[in-house]
């Protein structure tokens, strides 16, 4: 598990400088060691997982056209936009 912090940080798209990796790793291991106790919990063979506190059927509604929020209000929260779309740094190297 020595590179766990760095591998997971890469998956989660969180920059983790080498200098901080060890401390982060230690912190993660503390929690992982604690939750490891779940491994030993004995359960009935046929037990189903419970993913949500409401096990409802699909909530469906009539598909009616409704106004959305104004584009300029949504884009006003963006760090960068051209008034029509979000702008991001280039995706491919030129």
């Amino acid at each position: 598990m020595s590179n766990l912090a760095q591998n997971v940080a890469k998956l989660a798209r969180i920059d983790l400088p080498d200098a901080k990796a060890e401390a982060v790793q230690e912190n993660l291991e503390k929690v992982l060691n604690y939750v490891q106790q779940l491994e030993a919990v004995e359960l009935p063979d046929d037990i189903e997982p419970f993913f949500g506190a409401i096990e409802s059927v699909n909530a469906i509604r009539v598909d009616e056209l409704q106004p959305s929020y104004p584009r300029e209000e949504i884009l006003s929260n963006a760090p960068d936009s051209d008034g029509q779309f979000y702008k991001v740094p280039s995706v491919f190297d030129e």
Binding site: R13, D15, V24, P49, F51, G52, A53, S56, N77, V91
Partner: protein, 485 residues
């Protein structure tokens, strides 16, 4: 008239009769915030102009003799993880330091429609991850009973605001105890409703299958009045339940004769503070004197609640918080390409605890680990739910302490974060199983810090929680005590 000591019903009645204007009432509480916020940090933002405008409208309606909503003129503080149109909503995070939502959360719309006035946004642990408010990216709120102690979390600002009389009502959210634990630490009443009872639309999600919004007030009666407005199905939240809402106010005055209260031995074992134990036992005697009876029950799988929670909540958080990537929400770090922009933005604007939980969740959901972590935790979650279902076949309520201790000091758990996680040991199971739960004050320790009593009930039976809490509060005055600061 000491405005800040009036109950919700009294405030609404005075405003409706015209002997207190909504403008005066609003200005009074805004003044309380101005006076106290530098010292206790309960609020991240004050809505002076918006609140004054809303109050003026209420007063105009009263003058014109129009019919009023059930909460007309009532000032309300809202946790900063809940969206308010046109008012900065940060969720306690630098990531959203400039985020201005274009819409109100459903509960904010409901409160406004009922005539309530939003006076400010309350402090919180970043993205609701924490039990002390020390994880607020801005500054921690402080416990009004003693500023060296934490107010609890994550809805610590909401609890501080109500306890310090800066707002008669605050709205919080509870994922593993985030309404009840700060309510306990600050000596107020806090209700986490049944999962699905209150719409989550506009609540900035932490762990979607666990999050619930609820009221934080001084008394159970105040809580019932506000809950009546919050509860109900919302077509914008497909997990909100199409279940009729009970008449909570009508339930309050029913006698407790015949009520069966379950006591779980596990809640009174190792780790529980002696003073907390003594006060909770006294509360049991009060409820017995009102006609309730007690029976021992077992919730064997709840001992794994914290472990299951620290798998499930981070997994859901790692998914929910992936939306904060520097594209849509206000802050972006300087970077060369897209990949670097994502990872630098997330590194710079998320706090350490949030990053830790995202990493935990990402690890637990990553290829090869899913069965051992998320699936196993979700099966344990089923067993916890089954425990509750079985217990509620024989009792109406489950009673115990809300938290093992009273409020701890700032930095007390800095060296051992797991010790802080255990502050939620009695509260997480209600989120995992979905049942409603409430904390009310039941005494003080020798240092003068409040102690909380937790009641849990069957799904959608908030009425019995509020009834029992109210009946208890007719016999005790813990909920009426005010801190000095």
């Amino acid at each position: 008239m000491q405005i800040e000591q009036l109950s919700v019903a009294e405030l609404v009645e005075h405003i409706g009769k015209g002997d207190l204007s909504a403008a005066q009432c609003t200005e009074h509480f805004l003044g309380q915030i101005r006076d106290k916020n530098d010292d206790n940090g309960a609020f991240l933002a004050q809505c002076d102009q918006e609140a004054a405008d809303a109050a003026k409208q209420i007063d105009a309606s009263i003058a014109a003799g129009k019919s009023l909503g059930p909460l007309a003129g009532l000032p309300v503080a809202v946790k900063d993880g809940i969206c308010t149109a046109g008012v900065t909503t940060t969720a306690g995070s630098k990531m959203l330091s400039k985020f201005v939502p274009p819409y109100d959360a459903t509960i904010v719309s409901r409160l406004k429609d009922a005539g309530a006035i939003v006076i400010g946004k309350t402090n919180m642990d970043e993205f609701a991850m924490g039990s002390s408010n020390e994880n607020s990216a801005f500054h921690p709120a402080k416990n009004p009973w003693n500023h060296d102690h934490v107010p609890g979390g994550s809805s610590g600002g909401s609890a501080t605001a109500v306890a310090a009389r800066m707002a008669p009502v605050a709205i919080g959210s509870d994922t593993g105890g985030s309404i009840r634990q700060p309510a306990s630490f600050c000596g107020i009443t806090g209700l986490k409703p049944t999962y699905g009872r209150v719409s989550r639309y506009g609540l900035i999600a932490f762990a979607s299958s666990l999050d619930q919004i609820g009221p934080m007030t001084r008394s159970a009666e105040d809580c019932a009045l506000v809950m009546q407005t919050l509860a109900g199905h919302d077509k914008k939240d497909s997990t909100s339940a199409p279940v009729d809402v009970a008449d909570y106010m009508a339930a309050l005055n029913k006698p407790l004769a015949g009520l069966k209260i379950g006591i779980c031995k596990q809640h009174f074992e190792e780790g529980l503070g002696d003073e907390v134990r003594a006060k909770v036992n006294e509360a049991i005697d009060v409820l017995k004197s009102l006609g309730a009876s007690t029976a021992e029950i077992e919730l064997p799988y709840t001992q794994y609640g914290i472990a299951a929670y620290y798998v499930i909540a981070p997994c859901e958080a790692s998914s929910n918080l992936s939306r904060f990537d520097g594209v849509r929400y206000t802050n972006r770090a300087a970077a060369e390409g897209l990949e670097e922009m994502y990872s630098k933005t997330r590194a710079e604007f998320f706090g350490e605890e949030v990053k830790k939980r995202i990493l935990l969740g990402t690890h637990a959901l990553s290829s090869g680990y899913y069965d051992a972590y998320y699936l196993k935790a979700s099966k344990v979650r089923r067993m916890i739910k089954n425990d509750y279902d079985k217990a509620f076949e024989s009792v109406d309520l489950i009673l115990g302490p809300t938290v093992p201790t009273t409020a701890f000091k700032f930095n007390q758990h800095a060296a051992d974060p797991l010790a802080m996680y255990l502050a939620d040991v009695y509260t997480v199971a209600a989120n995992l199983s979905g049942v409603p739960a409430l904390s009310i004050p039941c005494g003080f320790d020798s240092a003068g810090l409040p102690i909380g009593l937790q009641l849990q009930a069957r799904r959608f039976d908030e009425a019995t929680l509020l009834q029992t809490a109210h009946q208890y509060q007719t016999q005790t005055d813990w909920h009426q005590r005010s801190p000095q600061s």
